[in-house]
Amino acid sequence: MRDEISLAVRIRSDISHIWRYEPRVAEVLTALILIPVVAAIVVALVPRSRKELHLPLGIALSVIPLALAGYLFWVFEPQVDMQFTEFAMLYEPWGITWNVGMDGISMPMVILTTILVPIALAASTSITKRTKEFVVYTLLLEAGMIGVFVSLDLFVFFVFFEAILIPMYFIIGVWGSERRVYAAMKFFIYTAFGSALMLAGIIALAAMHLDQFGAPAFNLADLLALDISAGAERWLFAAFALAFAIKVPLFPLHTWLPDAHVEAPTAGSILLAGVLLKLGTYGLLRFNLLLFPQASVDAVWIMGILAVVGIIYGAVVAIVQPDLKKLVAYSSVSHLGFIVLGTFALTSGGLQGAVIQNFNHGLTTGALFLLVGMIYERRHTKKIEDFGGLQKVMPIYAGFFLFMIFASIGLPGLNGFVGEFLVLIGSFSTLPVLAIIAASGVILAAIYLLWAYERVFTGVPDKEENKVLSDLSVREISLLAPLAALVLLLGLYPNILLDKIAPSTEAVLDYVEATTDYQVPEPGRLADVFVASGEDE
């Protein structure tokens, strides 16, 4: 018994070097975090009297992180090791380190963040009050989001994780619509409550490290060496999972999301759905699976069921939403369920699908919120019943909307399909019943999106306000076109990302296999099991 445990620990340390520091490139990730901060300071320094400068300057500066992230994507190698890693001791007595790095799981999220921020800013021309603060908050938010995805030290991760709440709280609370204060407060308290549990978990982990190795540590690689008892692992898993589940949000913890989205300004919705929700799915994959592998394996069914309930429930509730933004918000609940299902399917397809779906959902849902924002600026309503026949007056707008709808429905050839299909196929071998139920989500997605499209866009425009709407401007098209191009590119050639994702997700799987008795089922072998148990004739 003792031998087995020590063997497991040895294997852990063999594999866990992946997440350990190895200096390679200059401090590029730190720069990536700091550039938006510097940009925020620059914007803040522009006097209030030159208010017309704030937004253009912010947009221009936010292109720098995008360019840098693009470069990192270019040089990113498809390999298991963390890349662009940096390591420095921040506070020795507590064992807090500045340890950042990028792998195939975080890379897509960093890219997505840097893509969506310029678009979110550029979509905010209708924000006229306190533009400066708005731009500053958005840029600080970007720094926080990048920081969260590249941090490998749990303390620093947590600081970023929490720091994000503040700018988002203000973005919703200051620039939102009527019930913005309620929504912002709900968003803040709800997610902060979850974080509190995780903070407790992080402190407990550091304390265990102190207990077992004589010094506290927050570094992921150090914490992987911990020998955690089964009972404690379960509690810790629950604490982390709850924090992340609220962020995702997983049913039944989702009700802050529709409120936040409906009240948030367009930029807030884009970043909330595009990036902030992914903190939850990213955290589950990065921290829950690695730190608590056995508890994760044990929780496969609970997490899978919650994910699938979310898929169906979110879609069903979306069908009858009278508000376009709420409809898209509930569709997120449904789509994020696929990511959680894929994560806990614990198969290659499931994990790869989860990671690429993280990225893809950000693109399509970001675009859908952008589109809803464009019509809201024209009509000052998001109610489906206020529209009708828009395709006649706004054919380009209708075209983009339909394109994104089909991406969201999961039409093969567009990006949404790749993640969903990988998740479904991947989860079918470990959670067949859940995968089948989840697959029925594809029917529901077609229902709620196409029905909404029918009511908003088809028929003859019958309301006077709708007859005079102007179609998209060149500026608006230039925001949507790059997203549409990426949707198509990733739909047809997902390998551009999958190649770089796969080694990292495989490493996570290998680690889970090495540290638990879980075995990833081989195709074929599992089918025998499946049929043998299902066939009593």
Binding site: A204, T255, Y313, P432, A439, T458, G459, P523
Partner: protein
């Protein structure tokens, strides 16, 4: 030639992309000619590349284009074998004629170039479907043709009925796709790949009967959606809201046959499960009969053809369920000829009658539109199964194969025979109602023959409807030999051997066809009052058929309405009051605790939050450390 195969897909795709961005700069007919040229190019390449198969001995090969989802063995690759070659030739050949016809039909439409953009996209999608070398690529094409179908049914989107029909088509197809997707998952976990070669080569070793049945039935769900079989056929009649060339191309000749192709392509899997075969054949026969009865009583010229298509697809399912794959594909081909012709002919009539579709308001059009009347007449005889026209040979091979297999399949054979009689009846009824008798037109109608660009495709299709059946007759099984390499792993069912059996079976089906046609001719040749009386004599049956057994109504009441109710309950009775209510309840509780501890009150909700968080942190640390 193999190196150029990708062009078969790329040409229409390039046309779609080009027309999408630059189509609006083209003068009207030009966009149509661009799309037509693209599909002609595809046809030419396919024809040249198919020569080795015609010469015989070639088995086909797979060409990799690029990696798509390698984790599941799904790449963009082309399988070029006799089956896919034949499908490509049907799609591009019939497609070309319909494209050209549409140039005349869509004349004057303000979104003329958009129509051809979508038509080209459809052609590319359909070619992906039939050329794909694995199930994932088939599924890619499968969904893309669904998209195009959605776009083209709803082409005249300002009509609410067209928009609703488009949505209905997509959603109902998605129900089928759900089954198909689960089937694909099952294939993947079984074989670890979705590629045809990977699956078919190992099916014998890896598949149990139970698994083969499961996969077969799940594929059938998908096929029933796309190919409009019971119980998912309800979208196809509504799909007639689309422009008539769309009905001809997508909803008669090509897309709706994808389910037949899927089953034929998966013959190796169906080979291992008699249960799946029987289910496919039974669904097919039942659909053939039910749809034929509905077609009897329709007044709308396109609705007759829509239900007729459902019925004929039923024949194809009967064929592939009987494992008479060649017969099924054969009928797919001949049906593409005569049904495309019938739809285009109907389009020509509708065009001439200022968009009138009610056959009660037609009559006597033969003199005004001789070419349309003649070609539609040929198609009517072809679908009625009158020798030596195309439909006779293919239908007879299906019926003969079912008979030959015996047992339950003999029952299905009888169903098929009855359907043949009904088919001849409703098609003759249509032709007579439209073209013979006295004009019953509304005021101001000035019907005229359609322009050349529309009639020439009709004539070519009429020729094909006459001679198309001759490629596979008991005298020379040309198609069978051509397709053999694609079905070498399975046993193909055949009609019973011997001339005696052939003459007996063919005699029976010809008699059924002639009887149906004669009965309809004698009835509808008379005055409208007389045939109205004939139809009233069948009440209440006739009304039931006319209203298509009220299936839409039943689905509406049993599925749609309760589904919507459930969604409303979930959204407004559960999500808001219960789940969100609980959240707000907890928040309120925290605030109340704050009220009790007044001395701590500072007036900021955030401070309560902070206090609350601190408490939680303490509790959790205590639990974890205690447990650890």
């Amino acid at each position: 030639m193999i190196d150029l195969l990708w062009l078969i897909i790329a040409l229409p795709l390039a046309s779609a992309i080009g027309l999408h961005f630059f189509g609006r700069f083209l003068k009207e007919p030009l966009a149509g000619w661009v799309a037509s040229a693209a599909i002609v190019g595809s046809f030419s390449i396919a024809l040249a590349a198919a020569i080795p198969f015609i010469q015989g001995g070639e088995h086909g090969e797979t060409v990799l284009l690029w990696e798509w989802m390698p984790a599941i063995g799904a790449n963009l690759e082309i399988l070029w074998d006799p089956l896919s070659a034949l499908m490509v030739l049907i799609v591009t050949g019939v497609g070309t004629l319909i494209h050209i016809f549409a140039i005349g039909y869509m004349h004057g439409d303000e979104r003329f170039h958009r129509f051809f953009t979508n038509l080209s996209l459809f052609a590319a999608s359909m070619l992906i479907l039939v050329l794909g070398g694995n199930y994932a690529m088939l599924f890619l094409g499968w969904e893309l043709v669904g998209l195009c179908s959605y776009l083209l049914i709803g082409f005249w989107f300002t009509r609410p009925s067209a928009a609703a029909a488009a949505k209905k088509a997509f959603v109902v197809n998605r129900i089928g796709d759900f089954g198909f997707m689960v089937g694909l998952m099952l294939v993947f976990v079984t074989f670890g790949t979705l590629s045809y070669t990977g699956v078919f080569d190992r099916a014998g070793d890896e598949l149990t009967t139970g698994l083969a049945t499961a996969i077969g039935l799940l594929f059938l769900v998908g096929a029933a959606g796309k190919s409009a079989q019971i119980p998912l056929y309800v979208w196809l009649p509504d799909a007639m809201e689309g422009p008539t060339p769309v009905s001809a191309l997508i909803h008669a000749a090509t897309m709706v046959t994808a389910g037949v192709y899927l089953i034929a392509r998966s013959a190796v899997i169906f080979e291992m499960s008699t249960a799946a075969q029987v289910t496919v054949a039974t669904i097919g026969a039942a659909t053939a009969l039910v749809a034929a009865t509905i077609a009897l009583a329709q007044r709308d010229i396109k609705k007759v053809l829509a239900y007729s298509t459902v019925s004929q697809l039923g024949y194809m399912f009967l064929a592939v369920g009987t494992t008479a794959y060649v017969a099924g594909i054969f009928h797919l081909m001949t049906h593409a000829f005569f049904k495309a012709l019938l739809f285009l002919g109907a389009g020509s009539v509708i065009h001439a009658m200022s968009d009138e579709q009610d056959m009660h308001k037609m009559g006597g059009l033969r003199k005004k539109m001789p070419v349309t009347a003649l070609t539609m007449g040929i198609a009517t005889l072809a679908i009625a199964g009158i020798p030596p026209l195309a439909g006779f040979w293919s239908k007879d091979e299906i019926l003969g194969s079912a008979f030959g297999r015996g047992g339950w399949f003999s029952v299905l054979w009888i169903v098929g025979l009855i359907t043949a009689l009904l088919t001849a009846f409703y098609m003759t009824r249509q032709w007579v109602m439209v073209f013979l008798g006295e004009p019953r037109w509304d005021e101001g109608q000035k019907p005229h023959e359609s322009p050349r660009v529309m009639t020439i495709p009709l004539v070519i299709l009429a020729v094909l409807s006459i001679v198309g059946g001759l490629i596979n007759t008991p005298f020379a099984f040309g198609l069978e030999h051509f397709l053999e390499p694609s079905f070498e792993l399975v046993d193909i069912a055949h009609p019973p051997d011997g001339w005696g059996a052939f003459i007996l079976l063919a005699g029976l089906s010809v008699m059924a066809g002639l009887a149906g046609a004669a009965a309809a001719y004698l009835t509808y040749r008379q005055s409208p009052e007389s045939w109205q009386g004939f139809e009233d004599g069948f009440e209440p049956l006739w009304g039931t058929w006319e209203s298509a057994y009220n299936v839409d109504d039943v689905y509406g009441r049993v599925i749609v309405a309760p589904g919507k109710k459930a969604a409303e309950v979930a959204a407004f009775d559960v999500d808001l009051p219960v789940i969100d209510g609980a959240v707000n309840g907890v928040a309120k509780l925290v605030r109340n605790i704050g009220e009790w501890t007044r001395p701590l009150q500072t007036g900021f909700v955030r401070n309560y939050g902070a206090l609350f968080l601190a408490g939680t942190v303490t509790i959790v640390i205590w639990i974890v450390v205690g447990a650890g």
